[in-house]
């Protein structure tokens, strides 16, 4: 196949250049097409559709009816439980997001100090909880509400408490416990990203740094390691933040739905309640739309902040 005569970029207008490139590289479009058709169907359309439906009432039987901002007005003015849900979701995300991020970062750093064989063993130990499905339900046995629960039994033996605590029913403890379990399962993909990030830092930089007066491991982390693994830090942040909004299932499995006095009622639960049980799809879409903007907003904010670090 003879190659066509090379066209130089400056010969023609930008528009014609683009057209030419499109024609020349049509295979590229054919190759991305299958993926993006599915992506469009199951991600783009649902997001757009839920924004549109959020301005309607829709019960899946009749055609949606346009109601303007009514759903949003109802959410913020008439729905006290939703306000609780927003508060809980924010609180939950603000605690678990940064905590899990820092846990990932620091434990990846500590693990990186170990020798390779031990390193991969310890990596498995830390990563395992996040991939083993619903093993977190074992916390229900550990924190069982009667004296047969390990935690209650030992606390009573040590005279810390006089009678068993109803861990997953007592409003004082539920939130803390759920955060604990969520953090236990949160050393997931972003943890692996960090583990890998520490391994790709150019080792010569450390020696050069030592010459330049880097005195201890903290300075080394701050001045050498973190700046050179900034791409991993960015991805890790996005993964941690997004998953900090996704612990609804864990909460339902541990505490049940609805939770006592709505102490751990999150937007995810509110969404499931209206969408999956009451079939008020318009209202549920409004909730989903708000959740969408909260997640993307939080991510954009944090990545913008991270981009400034070290510049």
């Amino acid at each position: 196949m003879p190659r066509e005569k090379a066209v130089i970029r400056s010969d023609i207008s930008k528009f014609r250049w683009t057209l030419l490139q499109m024609k020349k590289n049509w295979v590229g479009y054919a190759m991305v097409l299958p993926f993006f058709i599915l992506f469009f169907m199951f991600t783009v359309i649902p997001v757009v559709l839920s924004v549109v439906l959020s301005f309607t009432t829709f019960n899946m039987l009749e055609w949606p009816k346009w109601v303007g901002m009514d759903n949003y007005i109802r959410l913020f003015l008439d729905d006290d439980i939703f306000l609780t849900a927003i508060k809980n979701t924010m609180l939950f995300a603000v605690i678990t997001g940064p905590c899990s991020y820092l846990l990932c970062l620091f434990f990846a750093w500590f693990i990186n100090e170990l020798r390779p064989k031990i390193r991969s063993f310890v990596t498995v130990l830390f990563y395992a909880p996040s991939i083993s499905g619903n093993v977190y339900i074992i916390f229900k046995t550990l924190f069982s509400s009667d004296q047969y629960g390990i935690v209650n039994a030992y606390a009573m033996k040590l005279n810390l408490i006089q009678k068993p605590i109803l861990w997953f029913q007592d409003e004082n403890y539920i939130f803390g416990l759920v955060v604990l379990v969520a953090l236990w399962t949160s050393l997931g993909t972003s943890f692996l990203t960090m583990i890998a990030g520490f391994q790709v830092v150019n080792q010569e930089l450390y020696e050069a740094g030592a010459v330049d007066g880097v005195k201890n491991r903290w300075q080394e982390l701050w001045f050498i390691t973190l700046p050179s693994m900034k791409p991993q830090l960015m991805l890790g942040a996005i993964l941690s933040i997004t998953s900090s909004f996704g612990f609804g299932q864990i909460i339902t499995d541990l505490v049940g739905f609805p939770s006592p006095n709505y102490v751990v009622h999150t937007i995810m639960h509110h969404l499931g309640d209206y969408g999956g049980m009451r079939f008020e799809m318009g209202y549920a879409s409004a909730i989903a739309t708000l959740l969408f903007f909260m997640m993307v907003g939080a991510n954009l904010l944090v990545t913008k902040m991270l981009r400034k670090v070290g510049t």
Binding site: N25, G28, S285
Partner: protein, 306 residues
């Protein structure tokens, strides 16, 4: 001054390397003994916290009935038995739908979904990273934005869509969406960009090979760690598919769903429930242990350069 320091440093380094070998030097740079000890202890404590619940699940699974209800409860087992596991398998045998059906469903869904996922994401990743068509940067930034929210957001409208397509209560409702995980495409694209050499592709193009052929014979063999990782991640997600809002029929439900029914179905079976947990967690953990080096290698290129 600096040159002088450097001279001294290199002399020190060489002396040290001659005395103790090169690896000893690398480890001791900027590392105090006290700090090492502190990190060791901290790692040890947290590792125990991470492992303890899982060990407890295993211990519970090995306890005979009388030990499960002994007071005060023990964290260890005195007479380990496999009875809970054999009970679990007996229970499986008695389930409403033959248990082999659940296993078949999981295996079928996992294989079909994983294959589709790896194929579609690799094609798209190859095109985005190696074929210079206009619009590829835009497509990739859409993918990056899509990492910023999760499936909860799209759940409701996806359900409407499935209803409209008539896919509710079919395998398609689980398999097809699993074929386009954006994180898979993201990882694959990042890995291809750094580890597939452009000049090799270019010379193959000059030879007249089609892009499809280049993809299969040159690019894919070069990115083995990435597709191993994609397989692991897709498999892990599909394996952990429990209750799915699109599936009602018992015949179409997964192994994991059946297991979780056993886990949550009452106190009398608490040992069996623990055995079920052990069975579910052992598969993904084993798969990860086998493929760890590939996964880490893939993740090392995964960073987000803007």
């Amino acid at each position: 001054m600096v040159a002088d320091l450097k001279q001294k440093y290199i002399a020190y380094r060489n002396k040290r390397i001659i005395q103790k070998g090169p690896s000893s030097f690398k480890r001791s740079i900027n590392r105090s003994k006290g700090g090492d000890a502190a990190i060791f202890i901290l790692l040890g404590i947290v590792a125990v916290i991470m492992v303890m619940p899982m060990v407890y699940a295993i211990v519970q699974a090995l306890k005979p009935l009388d030990e499960l209800w002994v007071f005060p409860p023990r964290f260890y087992v005195v007479n380990p038995t496999l009875k809970n596991f054999s009970d679990l398998f007996r229970l499986m045998g008695n389930s409403w739908v033959p248990f082999s059906r659940y296993i078949f469903n999981t295996v079928f869904i996992s294989i079909a979904g994983t294959a589709g996922n790896v194929l579609l994401s690799s094609y798209a990743a190859y095109a985005i990273s190696k074929i210079h068509f206009p619009g590829r940067k835009f497509l990739f930034s859409v993918i990056v934005y899509s990492l910023m929210f999760n499936a909860t957001v799209t759940g409701i409208t996806n359900f409407l869509l499935m209803t409209y397509l008539g896919w509710v209560d079919t395998y398609l409702a689980v398999i097809v969406p699993a074929c386009c995980t954006t994180f898979g495409l993201y990882l694959m694209k990042q890995f291809m960009e750094t580890s597939v050499n452009d000049s090799v592709l270019e010379s193959a193009r000059i030879e007249g090979a089609s892009e499809n052929r280049i993809f299969w014979t040159i690019a894919m063999p070069m990115v083995k760690p990435a597709w191993v990782t994609l397989i692991i991640f897709a498999f892990k997600d599909l394996w952990n598919t429990g209750q799915n809002m699109y599936i009602y029929s018992e015949q179409l439900k997964t192994f994991n769903y059946a297991i979780s029914q056993i886990v949550t179905s009452g106190i009398a079976r608490s040992g069996v429930g623990a055995a079920a947990m052990v069975v579910t967690m052992i598969v993904p953990i084993t798969v990860f242990i086998i493929s760890q080096s590939n996964v880490i290698q893939t993740m090392s290129t995964s960073g987000m350069k803007d």
